[in-house]
Symmetry: C2
Subunit: 154 residues, 2 copies
Amino acid sequence: MSTKRHWEDFVPGAVEIYGPRLVTREEIVAFAAEFDPQPMHLDEAAASATLLGGLAASGWHSCCLLMRMLADGILLGAAGMGAPGVDQVRWLKPLRPGTQIRLRATVLEMRASTSRAERGFVKFLFELLDEQDAVLIDLTCSQMIVRREPGAPT
Amino acid sequence: MSTKRHWEDFVPGAVEIYGPRLVTREEIVAFAAEFDPQPMHLDEAAASATLLGGLAASGWHSCCLLMRMLADGILLGAAGMGAPGVDQVRWLKPLRPGTQIRLRATVLEMRASTSRAERGFVKFLFELLDEQDAVLIDLTCSQMIVRREPGAPT
């Protein structure tokens, strides 16, 4: 039997923390050059004249770093089937070069699929934290995960 | 005076299309290896056994490709100030290797900031399209943009 985590292994209210990971200036600039080449993500001088007040990662870069920690921390060890989307992304504080980030994952809600007995949904709140536990970005997202006991009463 | 587009230059209901851009297998796999190393984004055989039914880009990769077309098409030519977040992201259809994608940007709503006379918000619907105009992902997002005439009646 698979040792991967199944839908039944997640518990509403559970909180897990993953990381840390150091985010470098080099990766911030490289990501921005490829996907979000706005001056505030590429150049200190240009960035200091913007609302960010200095060089900071693209909000999409923060999402991608969160995704990587989510994959390593949860999904690669779970019978995951993907996600239909993301409910809301909030870019709350700039992600600066040299920050040690962590991912906080909170299980908000669980429900069995009504149409497919073999799967369930786990709705997570994901928060990217800095060293002082400030939330840099947050997003909510429902992951589809295989049920160990398809169709069992919930 | 700046020739960049300001808040007043956007019109509710306006639709613009950007691209195309060819998405290769190589970039799909490279992105996944860095940010979303789930087998369905890395390997054809593993992907064919999943809900995606074959290799497809990470949903976050689709978002980043959309962002790049948004930057090139609109933001780098506008007096943009950033965005506070994203309202909702829906991953509707898999993005396959070899697809020519385009971005469709629709202005949903405009409002002046009530607290800052120099800025306004433009709420967009962004859709990533394939060659047949099928929507692969969509998201809504409010961009902050500098007003040409701060505080003028709207």
